[in-house]
Structures are given as C-alpha cells and as structure tokens.
Symmetry: C2
C-alpha cells in the first residue's frame, strides 16, 4: 500500500467511527480533521466532500460488520445451524462491537430517513443484503427438509433484524449488553422451537 | 390559554416534529424559525436555548406516544389482555404514527448515545417507564395466575421494546408498515403461546 493509499485508509477508518458515533449531521469536517490529525487539504485530496467521505465511510463501517457474518457462517451448511450462527454473531457483538457507536445501518437509517437520499439508499441496500441472507437460508432449509414449510423467510428476516437492531439500541442506551443478549436468546429459542422441523 | 401560552405550545409542537424528523444536531434555530414562522426573538422569549427547547420538545413528543398506551390500556385488567393491548398499539402506529419521524425515544437514544447527556437522560427515563409498564403487568399477572411463573418480566420488556423499536426503524427505512406489523404479530403470538398460562 502506497503512502497516499495508507492516508486514505486512515481517513476512512477514523471518519467511519466518527460518523457512526456522532452521526453525519453531528460531525463537521473540523471533527474529521481533529480525528485524523490532517489539515483540510489533506482530506480533500482524497475525498471531494463530506458527503463523498460519508458514503465510503459507511461502506467501510458495514464491511467491519459483514466480516463477522462471513466468519460465523464458514463451514456451516445446515439451515438451522446457519440461522443460529447469524443470530449468534450478536452475542459477541454485545460485548465486542465491530464498530464503536452501534450498528451503522440502523444509525444511518434513523438519521437519514427524512434526508440525505444517497446515504439512505446505501443503508437500504445493506438491509436488502441482510434480509436476503435470512430468507435464502430459510428457503434452502425448506428444500432440504431442515426448516418447517410454513415458516415465512421474509417475515423471519424482519423479526430477526428488528429485534437485534432494537437490542443494540437498548444496550447502547444503558451501556449494558443484557438487552441485546436477551434478544439473541429469544431468537435462538424461536429458531429451535418454531423454525427447525 | 393566553396568547403567549398558545405561541409556546405552537413552538413546542413544530419543534417536536422537526427534531424528531431531522434530529437535534440536524436542526438549526433557523429551521425552528422557518417551521414556526417566528423570528428568533419570538422563540427565545419562550425558550432560552436550542437545548432547552429540545428537552421540552422531547417531552411533548413522548406525550403523544404515551396517550396511545393510556387509551389502549383503559378498562383492561387481565395481564395477558394488557400485554396484547400494549403490543397492539403498534398496529395503529404502523399506519398512523403518533409523531412524524419515528419513535422519539429511539431517535434520541441513537442520536445522543455519544453526546448530549441531558437529552439522553430523558430518553432513558422514558425507557424505564416503558420497561416498568411491561414488567409490572407480568408480575401482577403472575400474582393472579394469568401469566406463567417462569416468565421473566424484565426480559420480556427488553424483547418487546427492542422488537417494536427495530420494527419502526425498518418500516421507516422502507416506508412500508409490513416490518412493524410482523414484529407485532410475532409478539402477539409469543404472548399467547409462551406467556399466557
């Protein structure tokens, strides 16, 4: 990695944490300068605007979450094991979040639902990816007789994602992992008792 | 209500919607002036700062949610009927939210978790109130033999609130009530199948 590329990566890393903690509207370019230790020119050499930086910083933050799913799903083929692994990612998340400041998708969804359409579109695209991950797991499990035929994969995705995101919000509000862990326990039991054949 | 009081109410009403939609950091006093049609002096006559206005606007927004619970719980005494009524508030919420911009408690929790301690304390106080509402309903139901003795009221509160808040977030992201309605359906079934004796 060249020096310019290293600087670019450092800006992204620091800006991702900053935006995820303070929000996009709550972070100024002065905050980015402070967090990176760079002058304005050093940042604008790599990103043409705060908006452009925010989009790439969002992708950077989401990638930190995504690798946790990839690791948890490796070598798991049974649909119920995969669903439990997806939910189980949040046990680790509760005590060692991949990104300071909570879930970048929820934070961006909440902040941009009445503004910033480009960032909002990115949050929706990642939400689509997560919903599809659950839905496809259910569908494959049904084809192989591992998941009950009456389970609606898209409805299960809504419930899993809503409950885990809400759990992250509550745990952050109280600085207490218990709420997210209760969400994980509830879903794990639901998968074993109502989803598994 | 005197003219001054009317003006104060109008500022609170408009500011509550503005802050709930755009966030505290994302709303300027110029936005408040625009929304209320008042000049700066007219606003500062009633609220000494944006911070002071935000605190009262938050209370105003929460009150709009609170009256929905009060109405839903009126004349319901059985614990299971009360739990189903609390959850059922969100069926109406999905298509006719009490406040534009989503849940003021979640929005404030997300925006202020790394800043603005006074607003954050208010969000926590309301969260305490909601958790206590579920927990006490469970405890009374257990005393009267309406709720299974093994149900943990505080854990049920975490799951209900997380799932409903997450459902509001997803439904707002997609402008589609289906996600929140799925959250309601899941909880209603859970209460009937796992909580009721």
């Amino acid at each position: 990695m060249g020096k310019g590329e290293q600087t670019r990566e450092r800006i992204l890393e620091k800006a991702a944490v900053l935006f995820n903690r303070q929000g996009f509207a709550g972070s100024s370019m002065a905050d980015v300068m402070h967090a990176t230790g760079l002058r304005k020119g050093g940042i604008y050499r790599h990103f043409e605007s705060k908006e452009a930086l925010a989009l790439e910083a969002f992708d950077h933050a989401v990638q930190r979450v995504r690798v946790r799913f990839v690791a948890a799903l490796r070598d798991r083929h049974d649909a119920v094991a995969r669903l439990r692994a997806i939910v189980g990612v949040f046990r680790e998340y509760a005590v060692d979040p991949p990104m300071p400041g909570g879930c970048p998708v929820m934070n961006t969804a909440i902040e941009t639902d009445d503004g910033n359409p480009e960032l909002r579109a990115r949050a929706r695209a990642v939400m689509e990816e997560w919903r599809a991950m659950v839905r496809r797991t259910v569908e494959r499990g049904q084809e192989r007789g591992e998941v009950r035929p009456e389970v609606d994969g898209d409805a299960l995705a809504s419930v899993c994602i809503s409950l885990l995101e809400g759990g992250i919000m509550m745990s952050k509000l109280y600085h207490d992992p218990v709420h997210l862990l209760r969400a994980v326990d509830h879903l794990d039991r639901h998968v074993q008792e109502q989803v598994r054949v």
